[in-house]
């Protein structure tokens, strides 16, 4: 059986700022890490592999600049069997649509997969769109907000997913795209030094757009349907509101503040 886990390298913090001159995000000095949602997805895939009797090969797949190799190296240490980085200037500036095009073509080139895992969202863009768009491109079903995989049996996957109301147990035939939502308190596996060294020795490849085919204009900024007009820092936090009044009045003002800010 084949699993593909789609991962992204993201800045190690969400506390980024926008350069007011250029309108671009200041990335200098911000270390990069494997997106935590994707790390959860990979952990789920590795755990599932351990429970299955048949052989499973896990391929970690990422699109990104050359340094995104680091995130894949971590995946190999955690338990992926091989890794592929889709890296090409042509891929740069992709929105979720173009990203999904790129990933799905790579998955097709790999000969498809029985389960395609991805994180529910990335901590930088927070779009949660790439997984379902990959499913649409490949024409296979999707399960989003998946918190737990029970088992795979008879070419069906059974898992628990979060909905607006609570949780569902669902069954879906393979192949399928699973977007994983970390459960509270989930602790990802910490690869030890030996696993890190072994990971470095596992197969790792870098593919350009020539490897996955298609036209240049299918990819990256040119292949994107959404255009970012500008990025900017949200207006700075003003002075805090301090209320020194009767409790009833103060609490009502606080409730109004919650309402205005969309809290609760």
């Amino acid at each position: 059986m084949k699993f593909v886990v789609c991962v992204k390298q993201v800045p190690d913090t969400t506390e980024v700022e926008v350069d007011p001159e250029t309108g671009t995000i200041i990335r200098e000095g911000v270390p990069s890490v494997l997106n935590a949602f994707d790390e959860f997805a990979l952990n789920v895939a590795v755990q599932l592999k351990e429970t299955l009797e048949e052989d499973v090969e896990i391929t970690a797949l990422s699109m990104g600049p050359p340094q995104a190799k680091e995130a894949l190296t971590k995946c190999l240490a955690i338990g992926a069997d091989s890794a592929i980085l889709l890296t090409d200037r042509v891929f740069a500036g992709a929105d979720t649509w173009a990203t999904a095009v790129t990933l799905s073509r790579a998955i097709k080139k790999l000969g498809g997969a029985d389960v395609i895992f991805c994180g529910q969202e990335a901590s930088d863009g927070n779009t949660a769109q790439v997984g379902p768009e990959v499913a649409a491109h490949l024409g296979i079903p999707q399960l989003t907000f998946v918190s737990e995989i029970e088992k795979i049996e008879d070419k069906n996957i059974i898992c628990k997913k979060e909905t607006d109301e609570g949780f569902l147990r669902t069954r879906c035939p393979l192949p399928v795209v699973i977007a994983c939502m970390p459960t509270p308190g989930f602790l990802p596996k910490i690869p030890n030094m030996r696993e890190i060294i072994k990971g470095k020795r596992k197969p790792y490849e870098e593919w350009t757009f020539k490897d996955i085919g298609g036209k240049e204009e299918d990819y990256g900024l040119e292949g994107s349907e959404s255009v970012v007009v500008r990025t900017y820092s949200p207006p700075p936090k003003g002075e805090g509101i301090i209320i020194d009044d009767e409790p009833e009045v103060a609490v009502q003002k606080l409730m109004d503040y919650f309402e205005k800010e969309g809290i609760l």
Partner: protein
């Protein structure tokens, strides 16, 4: 305000970045600063779950070849690991026990031990099931290694060892989980002018008959790992417990010191980095007279000076680790032949002495400064600084060689052998 981060990841290889990430993630779960403070307050023995955790992480004796249970790491990687361990536990207890002692000396034991000792003690120590270390200091001599009194006499297939060893790291831990020590004894007469001759190294299990551990010391700092001693009265060990060749113990010991000191230098860089980060978080936030403390030059400039020294030390440690890698690539460096080498062992020893002298002092002084910046808060166990200050002091005053001995080595290598004050 984000937590201060003074690491520069761009210096690290891909693997090193992951080593660091894993150790930090592990420490966040298992060894956060409040636990470091607590375990040093509670004192030894070292928490068994942390020993097992370190072993499972694979940080102990990474330099041992893969075929013998290690990871075959080079010294650049192992010293980075030691740096991160020092960063995680600025009391330096963890680095003392499991970098300097178990790894620096353990690696050297592995080099000279035969397969019996390797299987019975080295591998289990790598796996965290046993503790191995070094017992070289005696009541009559610490830095003057050649002036020792313990003896070993051959009796049939066995060696009979007698004498007393002091200031040994980890005796209580070894007693608890099993293990043993590298013990130097004299196996021949003391030769005039060459007191280092006729020293032989043995591996002595802690549970040997005739070996009586002394009461552990009540040290000023790094109390999470014990310091103790033992008396040997007719302790009998088989021939296969001899490390390397008879009479070469002094040279092996010097090699062991070199390995342990590199890891102490590296750990102390990590301690300093952590102290600076923790202090920066405080001085950027805490306000007096309308400004954060960090805005006052009296504090900011001290901070900057320590930061410069730390990064200078970091570069020195990296240079030394690279030198050590050259050394272990060269076969036969111990034979002191005139073979063309990039560095002679003495040159390497000089650089190692430089970091052994410099970095623990820097860590201690930085902790001292940080306590001044924080005032009473810095002196309390609410913060890590006093724990770090007391802990790293052990590497200023002694442990793997006293400060002034390092200076003598450096003086010898810079001014020439004619100026060595003691022979």
């Amino acid at each position: 305000m984000a937590k201060t981060n003074l690491w520069d990841e761009r210096d690290l290889t891909e693997e090193q970045k992951l080593f660091k990430e894993s150790i930090l993630d592990w420490a966040e779960r298992n060894l956060p600063l409040d636990r470091v403070i607590k375990m040093n307050r509670e004192g030894h023995p070292f928490p068994p779950d942390i020993i097992k955790g370190l072993a499972d992480l694979g940080v102990i004796m990474g330099t041992v070849p893969e075929e013998r249970g290690g990871l075959g790491l080079n010294w650049k990687d192992q010293s980075l690991i030691a740096e991160v361990i020092g960063y995680v536990d600025p009391s330096i207890a963890t680095a003392a026990g499991f970098m300097a002692v178990s790894t620096g000396w353990g690696f050297t034991i592995d080099r000279y031990a035969n397969d019996v000792i390797r299987e019975k003690y080295v591998k289990p120590a790598i796996n965290g099931d046993k503790f191995i270390g070094i017992a070289t200091t005696e009541p009559g001599g610490g830095s003057d290694v050649s002036n020792f009194k313990c003896t070993g006499e051959k009796d049939g297939d066995e060696w009979v060892l007698n004498g007393e060893k002091t200031f040994i790291s980890g005796v209580e831990e070894a007693k608890k989980i099993g293990g043993g020590y590298w013990v130097n004894v004299r196996t021949g007469p003391k030769e005039p002018g060459a007191p280092h001759k006729n020293m032989t190294a043995f591996f002595v299990p802690i549970d040997s008959d005739g070996l009586t551990p002394a009461e552990p010391y009540d040290d000023a700092g790094r109390n999470a790992i014990s310091t103790g001693g033992f008396i040997m009265e007719d302790v009998r060990v088989p021939e296969e417990h001899m490390l390397g060749e008879k009479g070469k113990g002094f040279y092996y010991t010097m090699e062991g010191f070199d390995n342990a000191r590199i890891l102490i230098g590296a750990s102390a860089v990590g301690v300093t980095r952590r102290i600076l980060e923790e202090a920066a978080d405080y001085i950027k936030e805490r306000e007096t007279f309308g400004n954060p403390l960090a805005k006052y030059e009296g504090i900011q400039f001290e901070f900057v000076e320590r930061y410069i020294e730390m990064e200078a030390s970091n570069l020195m440690v990296k240079k030394v680790a690279a030198m050590q890698d050259v050394r272990y690539d060269e076969e036969g460096w111990l034979a002191r032949t005139n073979k063309a080498q990039t560095y002679s062992p003495k040159e390497i020893a000089k650089w190692i002495s430089m970091i052994k002298y410099k970095v623990p002092h820097l860590a201690k002084d930085t902790a001292d400064d940080a306590m001044h910046w924080l005032g009473a808060a810095g002196y309390s166990s609410e913060y890590i600084f006093e724990t770090a200050w007391r802990g790293v002091m052990s590497y200023c005053v002694g442990a793997e060689g006293g400060a002034n001995i390092q200076k003598i080595v450096i003086g010898r290598e810079t001014l020439g052998p004619d100026y060595v004050p003691y022979k």
